[in-house]
Symmetry: D3
Subunit: 315 residues, 6 copies
Amino acid sequence: MKNGIGNFSIGDSFENFILIKESSRGVTSNGKPFLTLILRDATGEIEAKLWDTNKEDEEIFVPEQIVKLTGEINQFRGKAQLKITSIRPAQSTDGVQVSDFVAKAPVEKEVLMEKLTETIFEMKNPSMQRIVRAFIKKYQEALLTYPAASKNHHEYVSGLAHHIVSMLALAKELHKLYPELNKDLLYAGIILHDLGKLKELSGVVTTSYTIEGKLLGHIPMMVEEIGHISKELEIEGEEVLILQHLVLSHHGKAEWGSPKPPLVREAELLHLIDLIDAKMNMLNRSLDKVKPGEFTERMFAMDNRAFYKPLFEEN
Amino acid sequence: MKNGIGNFSIGDSFENFILIKESSRGVTSNGKPFLTLILRDATGEIEAKLWDTNKEDEEIFVPEQIVKLTGEINQFRGKAQLKITSIRPAQSTDGVQVSDFVAKAPVEKEVLMEKLTETIFEMKNPSMQRIVRAFIKKYQEALLTYPAASKNHHEYVSGLAHHIVSMLALAKELHKLYPELNKDLLYAGIILHDLGKLKELSGVVTTSYTIEGKLLGHIPMMVEEIGHISKELEIEGEEVLILQHLVLSHHGKAEWGSPKPPLVREAELLHLIDLIDAKMNMLNRSLDKVKPGEFTERMFAMDNRAFYKPLFEEN
Amino acid sequence: MKNGIGNFSIGDSFENFILIKESSRGVTSNGKPFLTLILRDATGEIEAKLWDTNKEDEEIFVPEQIVKLTGEINQFRGKAQLKITSIRPAQSTDGVQVSDFVAKAPVEKEVLMEKLTETIFEMKNPSMQRIVRAFIKKYQEALLTYPAASKNHHEYVSGLAHHIVSMLALAKELHKLYPELNKDLLYAGIILHDLGKLKELSGVVTTSYTIEGKLLGHIPMMVEEIGHISKELEIEGEEVLILQHLVLSHHGKAEWGSPKPPLVREAELLHLIDLIDAKMNMLNRSLDKVKPGEFTERMFAMDNRAFYKPLFEEN
Amino acid sequence: MKNGIGNFSIGDSFENFILIKESSRGVTSNGKPFLTLILRDATGEIEAKLWDTNKEDEEIFVPEQIVKLTGEINQFRGKAQLKITSIRPAQSTDGVQVSDFVAKAPVEKEVLMEKLTETIFEMKNPSMQRIVRAFIKKYQEALLTYPAASKNHHEYVSGLAHHIVSMLALAKELHKLYPELNKDLLYAGIILHDLGKLKELSGVVTTSYTIEGKLLGHIPMMVEEIGHISKELEIEGEEVLILQHLVLSHHGKAEWGSPKPPLVREAELLHLIDLIDAKMNMLNRSLDKVKPGEFTERMFAMDNRAFYKPLFEEN
Amino acid sequence: MKNGIGNFSIGDSFENFILIKESSRGVTSNGKPFLTLILRDATGEIEAKLWDTNKEDEEIFVPEQIVKLTGEINQFRGKAQLKITSIRPAQSTDGVQVSDFVAKAPVEKEVLMEKLTETIFEMKNPSMQRIVRAFIKKYQEALLTYPAASKNHHEYVSGLAHHIVSMLALAKELHKLYPELNKDLLYAGIILHDLGKLKELSGVVTTSYTIEGKLLGHIPMMVEEIGHISKELEIEGEEVLILQHLVLSHHGKAEWGSPKPPLVREAELLHLIDLIDAKMNMLNRSLDKVKPGEFTERMFAMDNRAFYKPLFEEN
Amino acid sequence: MKNGIGNFSIGDSFENFILIKESSRGVTSNGKPFLTLILRDATGEIEAKLWDTNKEDEEIFVPEQIVKLTGEINQFRGKAQLKITSIRPAQSTDGVQVSDFVAKAPVEKEVLMEKLTETIFEMKNPSMQRIVRAFIKKYQEALLTYPAASKNHHEYVSGLAHHIVSMLALAKELHKLYPELNKDLLYAGIILHDLGKLKELSGVVTTSYTIEGKLLGHIPMMVEEIGHISKELEIEGEEVLILQHLVLSHHGKAEWGSPKPPLVREAELLHLIDLIDAKMNMLNRSLDKVKPGEFTERMFAMDNRAFYKPLFEEN
C-alpha cells in the first residue's frame, strides 16, 4: 500500500479502497444533512464530507465499513480534506478486508513472539519466569495484536508487543553497561508493565477505553492480576511484591498515575526505558514526514514540541 | 490517667510510670554517651535525656519498655523536655502494662463493633454486603485495634474503627439530605476504604510502615484484595469494580495517591466525608488544648495552619 | 413544562413558546446576514440559527423576548441545534411571561424563608443573631430570588436561598455528630457567606457580573458590609471579626479567592459544607440526565470530570 | 551609634548598652538553666547566651529591657554570637532609652510629613483628596512611626512613611514618562495601600501580628475602612470603588493575597512601584554590608538569592 | 492615515489601499476554492474572504502585496470581517509603498538615535561604553527599524529602539531616586538586553522566528555575541561577565527563559524596568480603544486580563 | 585503601592518615573554642570535633592538610562522628599525598582518554569532528581530572570523563537499536555537553562554584565557547548551531536551566542518556552500601527517595 492516504498531497486525485473509522451526521447552514467521515488506511487518516445524504447513506457508511472512493485532496482550514466524487461500499468480491487498512508494527508477530520466548528462556529466577510465562500464555493472542496506546506511540497492530521487544533489546544493552542490574527483574518488569492495557483498551481497530479502564486504569488492574496469578501459581517470596511495585511505579510520578514512585533500581530504569522507546517511536515517525530544514508538527505527547530536522541529515 | 504527661507544665515535677517509645544513643560534646528517650503515655509524649549511660543502660531502656521515672519538666529549644532524676525499669509486680500507656478511642471496641454490625445488617445489596462481611470477618481483630494513621488524625488504639464509625454516622445523615445517594455503596466504601492500612502499618503501639506499605501503599493493596475476596466469594457484577473504584479514588487526586479521581457520585462523597471526619478529629483535639483567645500549635496535616479559638467560646 | 427543551432528542419536532437568552448577528460565507439565538426554558438551553434576517428581525429577536417557534432538533458539530421552521414574537394575548422560562429551585420561596426564620430564631448569641437578622431584612427580596451562581451549581431562581437552606440542614446534622461546634457561628456563617453575590451578580434572569463584582468580588464586599452593619447596630465584641473571617476564608485558599485560609474551626467546616452542597447539586442534576452504564457530560466545575452511573442504579 | 552591633566582627570586644528584643529560657545538657537573648541596637541584632541563670535573672532580662553589657563576639554554627562577660540592667541615671536602640528611617518624620502634605495638596480630584486627607488625619501619629513590615524591607521606625514617600517620588517621575497615568489616583493608591498595616501590626518596637491582622489581613481591613470613611464623608462616585480596588489588588496575585489582580492601569503600576521600592530598600542595605567581589547573605524576600557586588563598584 | 482599518465599525464601507499580510487557500463546503486574506495598514488588521478564486488569484494576492479594495465591514463569529466588493493589486502609478501600511513608533528614528548617542556619551566606564558603541555601530540599521517583539508590546517599526529609549528615561529617573545604582551598567544593560532579537526575528514587516531564534533564543545568542565582541575589542575585566549576566537574567526566572535569575542589583532593576515599559505600552494602547466605563479586550501578555477604564477618566 | 573511612561502623577504632576537607571554628556552651573538621579519604567523609583548640591549631588544621589521626567512630544526632584521641599533621616523611585521599573514577585516565580518542576517530562529519577535537585539545588536562559535579553523581576525580565515556557507550548501543540516529551528532553532543563545568567549578579537590559559574552557569558559557572555537576554526554550516542547541537544551526544561527544550532528536536523547547515566551512578553506589532487605539513605538528587534492595539480590 505505497499509495496510502498518508502519502498524498493537496491537489492529488484519489481512487482506492479505504476504511471508515468514524462517521457523524451534520446539517449544513442551508439545513441539508451530510456525513463527516474519518477515513483511514495503514498509512494515515483523512477527513471527508459526504454531502446531501439520506437515511440510507447513514446506515451504509458506518465505522469499520470499507468503501471504494474517488475524489481529490483539498485543503480546509489548514488541514487536508478529501473531496468525494464517488463512493460505494466494498463488496465481498472486492477482496479487501479490514486488516488491510490498519497500520501494523514493522516487525512480524511471529518474530515478536520469538523474541519474547527467547527472553523468557534466558531468565533464571524461577518465580519471575513462571509469572511471566503464565501471563504470556493467558494473553498471547491479544498481546500480539493490541496497540501500545490508543494514540501517540506504537498505536498500531502489534504495537504493544513491538514496544516490549524494543524495550527488552534496550534492557539487554543496558545490562551490559551496568552489570549490577538484575536482568531477570528488568525483563519481567518490561514484559508485564503494560499488559493491563489489554483490559483497559477496547480493541485493536477502534481503540477506546473500557469502563474498567476508565474507573481503575491499567496500572492497578495489572497489580491486582499479578497478585491473582501468583496466588494461583502458589508463588511466594518478595518477587511478587517487587514485580507489582515495578508495574505500579512505571509512570514515575503520582501525577502521572503511579501512586508510588520507583523505589527499586530496576523500577527506575524500567520507567526510563519506557520513556526512551516511546519517544524514539514518536520522533522517528514524525521526522520521517519532513525534509531537512523543516520542523515536524507539534507533538502533543512530546510536550507539544515541534522538532527540527537539521540540514545535514540526508533524508 | 488524668495526670498524664500531656497535662504537665514547664516546671512541674513528674513521678510516675511511663512507656519508652523510642530510644537512641548519642555522645555529648565532652565525648560521654547518653540516651535520648521519647516517652509516652495515653495523654501525650515527651523527650528526655539520660546522661552518662553505659552498655547495660542501652540494653534496658529500649522501645516498649515501661519505666518508673522521677524528674522535672524543663524547656529546651522551645520544647518541653523531661529532666530525669531517677529511672528504673518496671517490674512485673508493678502491675502496669503497655496498653495502659497508649491512647484509645473515646468509644469502646464493643460499641464500635456493634455499630459496624448494625450498618452491615442494614445493607440490601447482597454483593456489597457479602464482600464487606468477609473483610470484617477476616480482619476483625486488627480492625478494632489499629489506629487510622501513624500520626495526625485518629492515631490511637481503635482509631481506624472509630474513624469508620464516625464516617458511617455522617453518611447516614447525608443520605437523608440527599436521598439520591446509594446508601449501601457509601457504607461499603466507608468500611473498606482504609482497611489496606492493616497491612500498610506495622502495628498498634509503634506504628511504622511495612515494606509492602512503602512499595505499594494501602490503596493498591486494598484494590487487589477486594478482587481476591470477590473471586473467592464468586461475586460477579459491577459492584466489585465500583467498590474498587471507591477505594482507589478516595484520596481525591493523583498527587494525593489516587491514580483515578472519583468518577462515581458516592466516590466523591466518600472522599469528602473522609476529609471532614479527619479534620474534625484533628481540630477538636488541638483546640481542646488551648484557651479562648489563643491559637493552637501549627498542624502539619492542616496545611500547617494554627487555628484560633474565639473569645466567645466557653472552654 | 414537561416537554421542555432539555428533554428533546435529535430528530424531534419542536413547537412551543421559548425565551431568547442571547442573540448575535452573523454573516454567512455567501455574505447573507443571520442571527444566532440562544433559547431557553426552565429545563435547558439550545442554539438556533435564523437565516436571511433583516434589520427588523434584529430588533425583534432580542434577549428576554419570548417567541413562538416551530422547528426540528438537529445536530451540528456534535451539539444539538434547533432548525427553525417558523418563529414569531409572543404577544400579550399568548399568556406567557419571562418567569415561565426560567428554572426555579425545587423548593418554594415561602418554605425557604420559613426555614431561614426558624434557624435565626434558634440562635442564642445575640450579636450574631442581630447581624444575621439585619442582613435578611435588608436583602430579603433579592435573597429569595437570586441564583447562587451564574452557572455550575444552583444557577436557578431562588438558588442562593436553596443552597443556604440545604447547607443549614447539613450543619444541623454535623452539629449533632460533632457537638463541640458552635452552632450559632456556623449558622450565621452559612447565611452570610454568599450574600455578597447579590451585589456581584447583575440579576436573576440574565446573570452577569457587575463592575463592583469584577473589581472587588463578593467576598471583600461582604466583609465590608458586615463591618458597616455591625457599626450601625453598635455591635461590639469578637463576633463581628469572626463572622468577617468566616466569609473571607470560605473559599478555602488564596488561589480560590480567600486571602486568608480558614483559621477558626467553623470556618473550615463552612468551606467543606459549601463544597459538599455545591457538588451534590451539580452531580445529582447531571446524573439525572444519563442512564445506568453511561457517563455524564464533562463538568467544568468538577475538574472537568465525567461521572459514571453504575449499572446497579435504578433510574 | 557608629559602633553599633551590626558593625562588629568575629573576635571584637563589646562594651555598651543594648536592648533585649527576645528572651527565652533553656536548660543545658548538664541540666543547668540559661537564657537565650536576642539583643538589638539601631544597627542590627545578635544572639547571646546568659549561663547559669536563676529565677531573678529571668525576671530582669526581659524584652524591651536595656542592659549594659561587656563581652566578645564569637562564632557559633556559622553565626555571630555575643559571649557575655558581664551584664546589668540599665538604670534611669544611664540616660538611655528604648528609642535609642531602634533603627529609624534615614529621613526625619517632619520631612516625611511635609512630603505627604505636599502631595495631597497637589491632588485635584476632590473625592480622592478628601478620602486621603481623612486617613492621614486619623492615623497621622501611627503612620509616621510604624515600620512598613515586621521584617524584610523598611522594617524600622517611620518605615511605612518612608516607603510611601519614596513610592510617591517614583510615581511623580513615572507620570512624566507616561502622561496618560491618572496622577491623583496613583498618589491616593500609594498613600492608602498599606495603611491597613497600622491595624495588622502590633506596634513599632516589637512588631507582631494582631488577631485581626491574622484573621483578616491588612488588605481586606483597609478596603473596609475606605468604605466606612467614604460613607462618613458622604463621598459618592466611582472613586471609592476604584481606590478600594487599588488597595485590594496591590499584591498582584491571588496567591500573594490579592483576591483580584490589578484591573485598572494605576493598580498595575501601584503593584510594580511597591515591588521596586521594597526591593531597592532590601538590596541597597544588603549590598552596603559587603565588599566588591563578594556576595550578600541570602535574602528570603528576594527568593532566597544572594546578590553579587561587582569588582568595579567602589564601596 | 486617520481612516485606517483599525478605526472602522461594523457596517462601514471601505475603499482604500491596504497590504496583504497573510494569504491562505481554502475550499468551501460546496467544493469551491477561496482565499482567506489578513489585511493590514498602520492602524490594525482585518480578515477578508475572496470567493471563487482561481490559480491566478492565488499568485497575485500574496503577502506583502498592496491592493486597492472596496467592501464593507461585517461581523463573523463575533469578529469583524471585510466583505470584498472589488479588489485589484496596486500598480506603481498608485504611489503607495509597503512602509505606508506598517505601524511605526510615535517617535522618529532620528530622535531615537540621538537619545541613544546621548546616553552612550554620558557613560564613564570605558569598557561598557566601548562594548555598547560597537554593538550600536554593528546593528544600527536594524536596531532602528525592528519591532521589540512579534506581538504584544512595541510590535511596530522602530519598536525596539522606542522600547530601549523609554527604558533609558526610566533608568535615568530611578538613578536619581536610588543614587547607589551604577548608571553606566544599567544603561549598557538596557541598550544590549534585547539586541539578540535582531537575529531571533526574521524582519520588520512579517515578523517570524528564525531557525537560530527557535533553537537558541535571543538571550543565549546575545550572551555569546557580547563575548565575541569583547574579545575583538580586547576588553578584559568583570564588566564583560556582568553585562552578560544582565542580558542572561533579564527575563527574571528560569521558567521565563533566564537560566540564572538576577544576582546583581542592576540586573534586578533591568528586569523590572523592562516589565514596566512593556506593560505601560500594552495598557496605554489598549485603553486608548475603549471609553470610560468599559473594559478592554483580554490581553494575553497581561495574564489574559481585561482592564477597566474608570468613569472619571476623560478620554 | 580498603580500610577507608566509608567502611567503618559505629564503635570501630580508627588510626590512619586522613585529609581535612573543611575546618570551622566554634565555641562550646562553656565558651571554649573548638574546631569542626570534615575529614575525607577516597571512600567517604566523616565529621570530627577537635576540642579546646588554640590559635595555632586553627592555623594547622586547615583544608587540604593531611593528618595522622587516632580515634573512635561514635554517633551524634543520628550521624557518624569521629571522636579524636590524637591528631598530628602529616610530614613529608610520611609519604602521603592529597591525591591519595580523593575518590577516583573506577576507570583509569588513560583508558578514558583512549575511549574518547577512539570515538572521535569514528566520527565522519568533519565539522563536528574538528570542533570536538579542538575542545579536547584545549581542555584535555582538566577534562581528565575534574568531577562531573560538586556532589550527587560522578563527584570524584575523572568523574566528568567517566560520565562522558559511559554515555558514549550507551549512545553506541542506542544507535544500533535506533539506526535513524545521527551518531556523530550524538557523540559530539555527549562529549561537549558538560565541558562548561571546567569553568563553572573551581577545581578537583575542593569543588565550589566560580563567580562566572554562579552568574552565567556552565550551559551558556559552553554555548558561547562553541561559537568562539567554531569561529577560530572557520567552521560554517548548521553543525555549529545544532551543537549549541544540544548543549543548551540538555537539561531538558527551562526550570532545570535549559532556556530551550530539546528540539532535535539527538538533543532529546542526549538529555535522556545523561539522566540514565547519572541516576545509575548514584543508585549503584548507594545500593552498594546497604544489604538486601534494607533501604538506602534518602538521595536528594533522586527526589529525596530512599531505594529498596530486594531480598533476592545477592550482595
